[in-house]
């Protein structure tokens, strides 16, 4: 008996000849190789200054990652230009890139902290910080930045850092060291060491020079200054 197998008509209609996918496969493979080659170049050759002026300064190559956040080579390159301009030299140096990479890493962390505290910065808050003068335009020309880049790389991170710092200052999770230190000073006072001596030796306020003297103040001034909240 001869058995003849028939393909289901629906399956036959949806089945593509395998060769029709080949151009896509090649295109993706080529793209992958190009990206791999570009990233590989940075590993092998480093990212010294000639790189910054080339086309791949704008390519979406990652330079650092923290969790789901990624920093890109284009940002690193722009920041290196900014450092060179602020130092007043034309040629980019490895130091410029080192500083830029350090800054990129710090900003990744600050962005993560901003997420943690739900801190966001509006364009209005950023624009308040913008002071346009000749010195700024001279800097922008040297850094090859426009005003938007200045907002993105200088003003917005500055405002964000301030907002995040306000949160960090009130977060006991990050102030454990300072609390321990003041606790140790409290223990010294309880042991009977003179307040004036402890103030002069350990206080981190300018009043330490006057043995901690804050002068005569109204209770309202104390409340406003200390935002009194017993720990």
């Amino acid at each position: 008996m001869t058995v003849v197998w028939h393909q289901h008509p629906a399956a036959a209609a949806s089945a593509r000849p395998p060769l029709r996918n080949l151009p896509f496969v090649f295109a993706f493979a080529l793209l992958g190789l190009l990206l791999l080659g570009a990233v590989g170049y940075f590993y092998v050759a480093g990212w010294e200054h000639p790189s910054a002026s080339r086309w791949y300064a704008k390519a979406p190559l990652p330079v650092a990652q923290l969790g789901a956040r990624t920093a890109w080579y284009s940002d690193l390159s722009a920041l290196a230009n900014g450092f060179a301009a602020s130092e007043g030299h034309q040629e980019l140096t490895e130091d410029d890139f080192d500083h830029a990479l350090d800054l990129v890493n710090r900003r990744l962390l600050i962005a993560r902290l901003a997420d943690e505290y739900d801190v966001e910065v509006t364009q209005d808050e950023v624009n308040v910080e913008l002071v346009e003068d000749d010195a700024l335009h001279e800097f922008l020309a040297e850094a090859k930045w426009d005003l938007d880049a200045y907002r993105e790389y200088v003003l917005e991170p500055f405002v964000l850092s301030q907002r995040v710092e306000e949160q960090l200052m009130m977060d006991r999770k990050y102030q454990g060291g300072a609390l321990e230190d003041i606790g140790a000073l409290q223990a010294k006072l309880e042991l009977g060491i003179a307040f004036e001596d402890v103030a002069q030796q350990y206080s981190e306020d300018s009043s330490a020079q006057a043995k901690g003297s804050l002068g005569y103040v109204l209770p309202s001034e104390v409340d406003a200054g200390l935002a009194i909240r017993n720990s």
Partner: protein
């Protein structure tokens, strides 16, 4: 109240212990002569320094 030590007080940028040394009765209210000891809180730069040491940051480029 004179000579009393406060608890640890919290300002926006520092922790304080203060002591009341004198009280002056003025027309607009009592004024307190205070001595204080402050320990500054950690700023964002110090905290980020610590976090950079603690976190595993993946850096794709190098010298």
């Amino acid at each position: 109240m004179l000579g009393l030590l406060s608890e640890i007080l919290e300002a926006s940028d520092a922790f304080w212990i203060v002591r009341v040394e004198d009280i002056a009765n003025e027309v607009d209210g009592d004024r307190y002569f205070l001595r204080g000891i402050a320990v500054k809180k950690q700023g964002i730069a110090e905290i980020v320094d610590q976090l950079i040491e603690e976190h595993d940051m993946v850096v794709f480029v190098r010298n």
